[in-house]
C-alpha cells in the first residue's frame, strides 16, 4: 500500500536515532561536536525531503497523527480557553471543538475540527469527521462571537463530514449549507487556518472566512484522493495520481487564488516540532487579525462576498 509515510521519512528517522544514541553517551570528548554535525545534517536532509514532497506524500504528512491538532494550537497560542458544548438541538459532536479564549490579549471565539491520536481518542473524535451537530455547534459559537463582537479563529483538519445514516437523517447537507450562508454574513473577522486535511464540504463548513491560511504541508481538496480515484479511476489505489491531478497543495491553492497565505512549517514538518509550528503561526494570525480589525465590521460581509465571488476559472464569450 502506498500509505506508509515512514518510507520517505526513513533517512530523517535514521539520523534522529543516531543523534539519540549519541546523546545518551555525550560525556565522551568530541561527542558534542559530532552531535552538532548530525543535527546540521538532519536539518539539511529534512529540508531536502520536505521540499520535494509529492501531493500524495503531503496528504500523508497532513494526516500524520503527531501533527499538531486544533487543541494543540489552542494550547500553544491562546490563553484562558474554555470549551463549550452542544448544538442545542440534538447533541454534542466531539469531532468539532468550540470555545472562547484570548489571543494575545484579544478576546475571541475558536472553532476547529479535532482528531484523536490513539484508538480510543480517534473513536471519541469520530476520526475528526463531524456530524451535523458539529457544524451546528460551530455556527452557534460563531453567532455568539458576532453577538459579542469577537473575532473568530477557525482551524480546519478533517477528512470530511461523516457519511453515516444518522448524519443523513439529521441533515448533514443542511447543516453545512447553513454554515456557508451564515458565515458569509457574520459581521466579525473570521480567520481560517487549514492545519492538516481540508476535506471537502466538511472542511468548507467552517472555512468561509476573510483570510484563508494554509500550513505549508497541509492539503485542501474537493474530495479525498482515495474517493476521487475510486470514482474516476475506478480504483482507490490510484490515490497518488488523483492527489496530483486535483491540485491540493498549499502552493497550488495559492496559485488558484483560493488561499491568502502559506504558513511555513518547521524543518521536517509540523509533526517534527509542534511547538515551533505554533510559534511560526502565531505572528501570522496576529498580523491578519490586526489588518481585519481595521475594517468596519459592517463591511466585512461585503468584502467576504467579493472574495468568494471571484473564485472560479472559466471562459467567457
Amino acid at each position: 500500500m502506498n500509505g506508509d509515510q515512514t518510507q520517505f521519512e526513513e533517512p530523517i528517522l535514521k539520523l534522529r536515532r543516531q543523534i539519540e544514541e549519541l546523546s545518551a553517551t555525550d560525556t565522551e570528548p568530541g561527542r558534542q561536536a559530532e552531535i552538532a554535525e548530525l543535527q546540521k545534517q538532519l536539518i539539511k536532509v529534512s529540508d531536502d525531503i520536505y521540499s520535494k514532497l509529492t501531493p500524495w506524500q503531503k496528504t500523508l504528512v497532513a494526516r500524520n497523527a503527531q501533527r499538531p491538532y486544533t487543541l494543540d494550537f489552542i494550547a500553544f497560542l491562546f490563553d484562558d480557553f474554555t470549551e463549550i458544548h452542544g448544538d442545542r438541538k440534538f447533541g454534542d459532536d466531539p469531532a468539532v471543538v468550540t470555545g472562547f479564549a484570548r489571543f494575545r490579549g484579544t478576546p475571541c471565539a475558536i472553532v476547529g475540527h479535532q482528531k484523536g491520536r490513539n484508538t480510543k481518542e480517534k473513536i471519541f473524535r469520530n476520526f475528526g469527521q463531524p456530524r451535523p451537530e458539529g457544524f451546528r455547534k460551530a455556527l452557534r459559537a460563531m453567532k455568539l462571537a458576532e453577538k459579542f463582537k469577537l473575532p473568530i479563529f477557525s482551524f480546519v483538519d478533517t477528512q470530511g463530514a461523516y457519511p453515516g445514516v444518522g448524519a443523513e437523517e439529521r441533515g448533514q447537507a443542511e447543516a453545512i449549507a447553513m454554515n456557508l450562508r451564515e458565515m458569509a454574513s457574520l459581521t466579525v473577522p473570521i480567520i481560517v487556518t487549514v492545519i492538516g486535511e481540508g476535506g471537502s464540504g466538511g472542511a468548507l463548513g467552517i472555512a468561509v472566512g476573510d483570510r484563508i491560511l494554509m500550513l505549508e504541508h497541509s492539503v485542501y481538496s474537493v474530495i479525498s484522493p482515495e474517493g476521487c480515484a475510486a470514482i474516476l479511476w475506478k480504483n482507490s489505489a490510484a490515490a497518488p495520481e488523483a492527489a496530483a491531478a486535483m491540485k491540493i497543495t498549499a502552493p497550488d491553492l495559492k496559485r488558484l487564488g483560493i488561499i491568502d497565505e502559506i504558513v511555513p512549517e518547521p524543518s521536517g514538518g509540523a509533526h517534527a516540532d509542534p511547538a515551533r509550528a505554533a510559534e511560526i503561526l502565531g505572528p501570522v494570525l496576529e498580523k491578519n487579525l490586526k489588518e481585519l480589525l481595521k475594517i468596519k465590521p459592517a463591511l466585512l460581509p461585503e468584502e467576504r462576498y467579493k472574495k468568494f465571488r471571484k473564485m472560479g476559472v472559466f471562459e467567457k464569450g
Binding site: 457519511p163 443523513e168 491540485k247 465571488r309 473564485m311
Partner: protein, 281 residues
C-alpha cells in the same frame, strides 16, 4: 494489505441519460412496463402506469415552468475550461468537448428569465446530461450571476437541482462554488427576495450541501434521491445495506429537511401559489 482479503472493486456508476431513451416505446425504470413514448411525453415525462418521474433536461424544465413556455436565457456565454489540466483516464478537456457536442454548450446549468403564473422570475435549471449535472466554476458563475440579477431586478429565484455534486475535474475551484453561491443567497435573503429550491432526482453532494438545502422552501419531486453522501459511500462506511427508501424525497420530508413533495404536474401551480402569497397579494 492482508492476502486473504477480497479486493473490492467499486461498482461502475450506471450513467443514466436524461429524458427518455430514443424509440417509439420506452421501458419505465421503475415499474419496467413498456409504455408508448408519446404518451409519456404528453404526461410531462411521468410514467402513466406508475408515476415514475423521468429526468428532464433544463430546457424541458423551462418549457414546463415558464408561462406559455416563453423565456429568455442569459449568462450563456460562460464556458468551462480546464484550469487544472486535469487528466484521469481521459483528459477533462476532451470530456468537455464530448458533452458540449452531445448536450450543448450550456454546461450543467441553464439560467433563464420569464414569468411564472404572471410573476417575473429567474429560474436556474440543472442539466444532468452534462457530466452528471456536476458543479464546477461555470455552474457557480452562472448561478451567482442569476442571484445578482434577482437582487438587481427584485425578482424571486428558483433553482431546479439535478446533480451528483461538485465536479472533481476542477478540484478545489468546484468546492468554492458552494461558498460563492451560498454567500450570494445570503444577499438575496437580506434583500427580502424568495428563493425556492426544487430538488429532483438526483440531488447529492456539494449541491445538496449548499444551495439545494437553502431554499426558503425546499420542494422535491416524488421519490427523488436527495442526500449529502452517496448511498454507496454510506454502505461502505457502515458496512450494511441501506433500507428501502433511504434518502428518497419522502424520507427527507419525514426527517424535516424538505417542505413538501409535489408531483411534476402540480409543480408550476404550487410554485405560483407560494410566489404570489410571498409577494403579499
Amino acid at each position: 494489505m492482508a492476502w486473504f482479503r477480497k479486493e473490492k472493486k467499486p461498482k461502475e456508476a450506471v450513467e443514466k441519460q436524461t429524458a427518455i431513451p430514443e424509440g417509439l416505446w420506452v421501458k419505465c425504470d421503475e415499474c419496467k412496463e413498456i409504455v408508448y413514448r408519446k404518451e409519456v411525453e404528453a404526461n410531462l415525462s411521468v410514467c402513466p402506469k406508475c408515476g415514475y418521474h423521468f429526468r428532464l433536461s433544463a430546457t424541458e424544465r423551462f418549457e414546463m415552468l415558464f408561462d406559455n413556455g416563453k423565456y429568455k436565457e442569459f449568462a450563456n456565454d460562460i464556458h468551462s475550461c480546464d484550469p487544472l489540466e486535469f487528466r484521469d483516464t481521459k483528459r477533462y478537456r476532451d470530456r468537455l468537448r464530448v458533452y458540449e457536442q452531445r448536450v450543448g454548450k450550456g454546461d450543467a446549468v441553464l439560467c433563464a428569465e420569464g414569468k411564472l403564473e404572471g410573476v417575473s422570475i429567474v429560474i436556474c435549471a440543472m442539466e444532468y446530461a452534462f457530466m452528471g449535472g456536476s458543479m464546477g466554476s461555470v455552474v457557480g458563475e452562472k448561478i451567482a450571476t442569476a442571484i445578482e440579477r434577482c437582487v438587481d431586478k427584485k425578482e424571486p429565484l428558483i433553482i431546479v437541482s439535478c446533480s451528483g455534486g461538485a465536479r472533481m475535474q476542477e478540484g478545489i475551484l468546484s468546492l468554492m462554488q458552494m461558498a460563492k453561491i451560498s454567500a450570494g443567497l445570503a444577499r438575496l435573503g437580506s434583500a427580502g427576495l424568495p428563493f425556492i429550491s426544487v430538488l429532483t432526482d438526483p440531488t447529492t453532494g456539494g449541491v445538496t450541501a449548499s444551495y439545494a438545502m437553502l431554499g426558503d422552501l425546499n420542494i422535491a419531486e416524488p421519490k427523488a434521491l436527495i442526500g449529502f453522501a452517496g448511498p454507496r459511500v454510506i454502505e461502505q462506511t457502515i458496512r450494511q445495506t441501506l433500507p428501502e427508501g433511504f434518502q428518497r424525497a419522502e424520507f427527507l420530508v419525514e426527517h424535516g429537511m424538505v417542505d413538501l413533495i409535489t408531483p411534476r404536474a402540480e409543480m408550476k401551480g404550487a410554485l405560483g401559489r407560494f410566489l404570489t402569497i410571498f409577494r403579499g397579494n
